[in-house]
């Protein structure tokens, strides 16, 4: 049965298929037995080859087969007992235990009720063993959900249960016992999944029944957001449920969630559509009209320094001026940091940057393509103005000033500027943590940009590394060809001559790899350092002022820090010693240190 081809990564159709199996089992007991055996074999294979996502789906499928009278409840409880006893294993990675507990807990929404009805004493024991394991784990959230579910006597309202309609047939069926299932032992090659980064806008008390949201960069998220769009559209009428988010602090999860969803909806359509859709009372949550903000726009601004140059530039660019002509016009712009001015006037001059970038972006505001063309055409000017680190930071600041109403435009411009090396990744990281962006720090688009920046850095390192490996392989092939030749006349000089270019290339690439890796490490260090500074400042302020540390802003930020660790854990693993000795030292506030320590525990 090609179950996998039909099911998507969510479990929404799972109960349809289990119902079908249930009905077939009621007709033909042997079929049911063979099917269960086949599922168990599939589960074992998945665990052997580290396919944990598939394994979780299989466990859920099996547990729902209890609801369909295919599998006897006591044998399912026995399997879960074997899962939970993994926590008693010695010398195994914590992530192994975490996974087995997760597999057990995450099946309970489907089968908790049935198992409790048949084997309540055993289930109580399992849950209390789980509780004592779970004292400080990322699984906290799921544990709390299950506890609440238990308190509600396992009443679960989200999962579709078609088998209920066939109860009269299914209750007559003979059930099977699961064969005893021992979790395959831990081996050197076993690799367990990291806890998935689930950035929760809500905590479990807001939504105890919801399925877990997929990662924000994934395609699955798009499917969910489409659904959310429909839900919001159809639930606007239920103002009583949502209207409380109007009276709350806008940083709280509920109103923030609404604002971010509306912004995403706008990106997929257009501003006026959202304004028309959203009731007047909710307009405070509507996204801004994504228009360009040009500071030299009209005559009333003529007293601004650089205004005349801006006009000059506008005319020149419209008349297809070259980079040189632009340099010529910019030469006349005074430098507010007068003492740094050298003869050519090309040191960091914030006013030059401001006038040029504002004017160009304004002229190219029509579309992404127009802006990209502008960046390409005047690449030379950009590179020169942004040569220094302060220059890069200032370019980013001006881009933000011009396009602060259009986060999507900011994101694509930053992406393009990194790719064309107008700015570098560290500059973007520093800009994100700068005071100018403090107001937007908890908005989604900021994190889109940061994670996209980190990904670009990672891909760059991989790319150069691959080039190096490919060139090494070419050299090896060259040697092999030479060795297999029957030529007796080859002397050292001709060998060197042949190998020379490739060896030089390898040396250059080796340097390039090292340089890229160093840049990558620096990027992460900058990010962690800025996080520590930001969070420490908040913690100190709260402690001296005697106010509660756990503001919505703080919760959001500390979890964003966690997200960095979890989302890029493979790369960060390389830096553990540096992080421990340089940044996450014992003097750090325990709130921040705890995040690092939890991450270390996952590596153990």
């Amino acid at each position: 049965m090609s179950r996998r081809r039909h099911s998507d990564d969510s479990d929404e159709k799972l109960t349809v298929y289990t119902t079908l199996v249930g009905l077939l089992n009621a007709r033909n007991y042997n079929f049911g037995g063979e099917f269960v055996e086949a599922m168990i074999r599939q589960l074992k294979e998945c665990l052997k080859v580290n396919m944990y996502n598939q394994a979780v789906h299989l466990v859920r499928f099996l547990s729902d087969l209890v609801n369909c009278h295919v599998i006897a409840a006591p044998s399912m409880v026995a399997m879960f007992e074997n899962f939970v006893s993994v926590t008693q294993e010695e010398d195994v990675p914590q992530v192994r235990c975490d996974w087995y507990i997760f597999a057990f807990l995450s099946s309970l929404p489907w089968v908790g009720k049935e198992l409790y009805e048949k084997k309540d004493a055993e289930m109580d024991r399992l849950l209390s063993q789980t509780e004592s394991y779970l004292n400080s784990r990322y699984l906290d959230c799921l544990w709390s959900q299950i506890q609440k579910l238990k308190k509600d006597r396992w009443q679960e309202r989200h999962i579709l249960r078609p088998y209920l309609a066939f109860d009269s047939i299914l209750c007559e069926a003979l059930q099977h016992n699961l064969p005893p299932f021992t979790p395959p032992p831990h081996t050197e090659d076993s690799v367990y999944p990291m806890p998935r980064v689930i950035f929760r806008m809500f905590d479990y008390t807001d939504d105890p029944e919801g399925p877990v949201m997929p990662g924000s960069h994934s395609v699955e998220r798009f499917v969910i957001e489409e659904n959310l769009h429909c839900i919001i559209k159809s639930h606007w009428k239920e103002r009583k449920t949502w209207s409380d988010c109007l009276t709350q602090d806008l940083e709280k999860p509920k109103p923030k969630f609404v604002r971010e969803v509306l912004e995403k909806c706008m990106r997929l359509s257009y501003h006026q559509r959202i304004i028309d859709l959203v009731p007047a009372s909710f307009s405070v949550l509507s996204p801004a009209n994504p228009v360009c903000m040009y500071k030299y726009a009209d005559e009333s601004n003529r007293s601004l320094p650089g205004y005349t140059v801006a006009l000059c530039l506008t005319i020149a660019i419209k008349n297809k001026a070259s980079n040189d002509e632009i340099f010529g016009i910019l030469k006349d712009v005074p430098n507010p940091n007068q003492e740094d001015d050298d003869d050519e006037g090309f040191s960091f001059n914030p006013l030059k940057i401001e006038v040029f970038v504002q004017t160009l972006l304004h002229l190219a505001a029509k579309s992404f393509s127009h802006s990209f063309s502008a960046l390409a055409k005047f690449h030379e000017v950009f590179k020169t103005l942004a040569e220094s680190d302060e220059g890069k930071l200032h370019v980013l600041r001006v881009v933000y000033e011009v396009w602060k109403n259009h986060p999507q435009m900011i994101a694509v411009l930053v992406d393009k500027m990194i790719r064309t090396q107008i700015v570098d990744c560290a500059a973007v990281a520093n800009w994100i943590f700068s005071s100018e962006l403090a107001h937007d720090f908890t908005r989604f688009y900021i994190w889109e940009i940061l994670h996209s920046t980190i990904r670009k850095m990672n891909k760059h390192v991989l790319k150069i590394h691959k080039e190096l490996e490919d060139t090494k392989a070419r050299l090896a092939r060259q040697h092999k060809r030479r060795d297999s030749d029957d030529d007796d006349d080859d002397d050292d000089r001709s060998t060197d001559r042949e190998d020379g270019p490739l060896e030089e290339q390898i040396e250059r690439l080796q340097e390039k790899v090292e340089s890229a890796q160093s840049e990558q490490k620096n990027l992460f260090l900058v990010i962690f350092q800025r996080f520590i500074m930001l969070l420490t400042e908040h913690l100190v302020r709260c402690e001296t002022g005697g106010i509660d540390v756990f503001t919505p802003w703080y919760k959001s930020c500390i979890e964003r820090l966690q997200q960095i660790f979890l989302q890029h854990h493979q790369i960060i693993q390389q830096y553990m010693v540096t992080l421990e000795n340089l940044l996450f030292t014992a003097e750090l506030d325990h709130h921040i240190l705890a995040v690092f320590q939890q991450f270390c525990a996952l590596q153990a």
């Binding site: 074999r41 599939q42 396919m51 798009f222 997929l268 579309s367």
Partner: protein, 182 residues
Amino acid sequence: MAAGGESSRSGRGAVSGLLSTTLSGLNSDSYCEISQYRDQHFRGSRQLQEKSLKVSSTLYVGNLSFYTTEEQIHELFAKCGDVKRIVMGLDKIKKTPCGFCFVEYYTRADAENAMRFVNGTRLDDRIIRTDWDAGFKEGRQYGRGKTGGQVRDEYRTDYDVGRGGFGKIVQMQKASHQPAVY
């Protein structure tokens, strides 16, 4: 599939075959196959065109509304990976969008995800269609219909408010109040 459908499988031997078949089914699928369409203006042999289609990371996107913007297209297609560039399809005469575009990714894998997950879904309330493209070349951004837009908008007879109303030929008929001359 063998003639007469798959023969029934029983016994233990078939199980790991089943696992590996279903799992390998996730790696290549019919969503990513090239279609029957071949660009008549392509410079090169059919073979070369087919070869290019099979390695391309550029997609043709059709059935867009004339009012759909590059920004909307970017937002949607960026869900599948980093977009390298978008080229809007334009009316050859008016130089305004005429309902198609090219989306180029940095990698083929990302383009394949778009073929799997975006093709056949809605943008601006319209079901859009994606297909492999051999690669954008200057000039290919223009409609090839006689009146400047896409060929399909010349001949269609329905009223489509997102694509300029009636098809061009029907519009001309209505304007001149004369039946079409065949």
